[in-house]
Amino acid sequence: MKAFLLHNMRQFGTLIGLLVLCIVLWILTPHFLTVANLLNITQQTSINAVIAVGMTFVIITAGIDLSVGSIMAFAGVVLASAIEAGVPVPIALLIGLGVGMACGLINGVLISWGKLPPFISTLGMMSVARGAALLYTQGRPISGFSGDFRFLASGEILGIPNPVIIMIAVYLIAHFVLTRTKLGRYTYAIGGNEEASILSGINVRYYKTIVYGLCGMLSGLAAIILTARLNSAQPIAGIMYELDAIAATVIGGTSLMGGEGRIGGTLIGALIMGVLRNGLNLLGVSSFIQQTVIGSVIIIAVLIDMALKKQKS
């Protein structure tokens, strides 16, 4: 039991943080702990949470992906134009995922075979995808879709909004992939020690490329949720979303050094950010203070994480 606790300490650290946050907000405002508001928060968190899954994979390989926000915008406008052109919704969704994945795979190839540092490659892609989105739409948002498509964000199953269901499904699958498959094990191995991974016969280039492709595809999925939610795809959507995703991942205990991290932690990280934003809105706190508080929480979360790590060793 003790070993189990110690082993999962970091997870519990962030979970305790989330619970403390919820309790404080519950005391401060009567509007926080209602079913409607909790659904509201999970729905608002879903986009960042989905992007953060890809980010977690990438960061575990000791990489970084700065292009997720731009890829989301690009995938969103391509998807939207496909729907507008009368492409059936399921195929349009595949196109959206495909565009995201293609951008991610390009990142992966540049990093693996072009030997570019992930920071540079994805920084470039951030600009390229943004430009592509603007060029593709001539800067105009594409809006007004059929109910079928909007149902993806506005509909609900058994009272749970669809974006939340999508988010949960993504986390379950990602958890499975990361803990039970070869891809997951190699993701950790590459981040832990890339040289050793190569020497032990892992096709590092191939798996890294897959990880970036996956991250891009999840940005495409986030684009689907965002476009359905706003009933519009904007070429300027998602600016700075990469930082939210990185923050969720880091709050969730994934090390920027690579080699360690858990998908469940990322979900808690994303929820902490969502709960904070929601709570500060409910309290009517000035927007200036909100940014300061959110920033401080990121720092505090990492401090907690480091304190726990020290204790463990």
Binding site: L25, N40, Q138, N231, L282, S286
Partner: protein
């Protein structure tokens, strides 16, 4: 483990402190009106907030001001509205970050029986009707008109002939697009005016400097510049000064922020189109009060728009 406790303690204190600064919210009998703006990182919206605050108390209204961090982040603005619906504010006054994107949020407010007043930027009324949403009123001035006024000023200054350049806002941004369209509309009446170059500087001062410097390289005979906001215009006048052409190029900005007024006094900026955000904020609160009292309000409440030049800029604000 002790460290963790300490850190949690700091977190709690911080949140509690943040919670306290929301002011006397316990005056429950007063109706709450939320003013949701695009951002607070822009003097225009600070003025709007000041206008709303100047009158909220005397109207017996509990004012809640919220804004997204970035002007273009519609998703965050939507989250704010969803959250305000949770606390059941009485009226939402909104400066929409996206003319179409924000419509689902308006529909949600409608469903919760919270009336919505739109301030400053229009929303797409056809799409709103299609989505089954409604707004009570639009309070604002016409960006199209502002662009037209700027165009007419430049035409008269150039006596109807000459080369002009344009600095655009972020593409796809309703406000900038309308200003641009209004400007082009005015130019239709002056065939002697030629637009040599029209590029975006993304609303930003430093980009205004760089983009206009590049324009001057390619087209040294530019005689006038229309910039879709003051920030870009202020950047551009620095580029003009660096090229030693301050007296040769007429620059017209938009928004008449304090820095721009100062530049007008100094003669580096010729004019700036002024909207009156303070007035908008005030009118928003007055309209909200009327709604709460069950009175009808007009579907469109125009706020004046005019051109500030050296003749009407007035002395510096103390």
């Amino acid at each position: 483990m002790r460290q963790v406790l300490y850190i949690c303690l700091i977190l709690v204190t911080m949140l509690a402190a943040a919670g306290c600064q929301r002011g006397e919210k316990n005056s429950e009998s007063r109706p709450t009106v939320a003013l949701v703006m695009k951002t607070l990182n822009n003097p225009f919206f600070i003025d709007m907030q000041a206008g709303a605050e100047s009158i909220a108390d005397s109207m017996g209204i509990n004012l809640l001001v919220q804004a997204a961090e970035r002007e273009i982040d519609v998703e965050k603005q939507m989250q704010i509205i969803e959250n305000l619906i949770q606390i059941k504010v009485d009226v939402i006054c909104l400066t929409p970050s996206g003319a179409r994107e924000i419509i689902p949020a308006i529909v949600k407010a409608n469903k919760a029986d919270i009336p919505v007043i739109i301030v400053d930027s229009r929303i797409d009324s056809a799409l709103l009707a299609e989505a089954g949403g409604r707004i009570e009123s639009f309070i604002g001035s016409d960006n199209f008109d502002g662009g037209r006024i700027a165009g007419e000023y430049i035409i008269s200054k150039l006596s109807g002939a000459g080369h002009v350049a344009i600095l655009e806002g972020i593409p796809g941004h309703e406000t900038g697009d309308m200003r641009l369209a209004g400007f082009h509309k005015a130019l239709e009446s002056a065939p002697g005016i030629r637009v040599l170059s029209s590029q975006t500087a993304n609303w930003e001062r430093d980009q205004g400097f760089n983009v206009f410097q590049n324009m001057l390289q390619s087209y040294p005979d530019i005689r006038a510049l229309f910039s879709c906001n003051d920030m870009m215009a202020l950047g551009a006048i620095e580029a003009i000064a660096a090229a030693g052409k301050t007296d040769d190029i007429i620059v017209v900005g938009f928004d008449a922020v304090e820095d721009a007024r100062e530049a007008i006094r100094q003669g580096t900026l010729a004019a700036s189109v002024a909207q009156h955000p303070f007035e908008m904020g005030k009118l928003a609160i007055i309209s909200a009060r009327s709604l709460i009292d069950g009175r009808d309000i007009p579907a469109f409440l125009p706020v004046k728009i005019d051109l500030i030049t050296v003749s009407n800029v007035g002395p510096a604000r103390q």
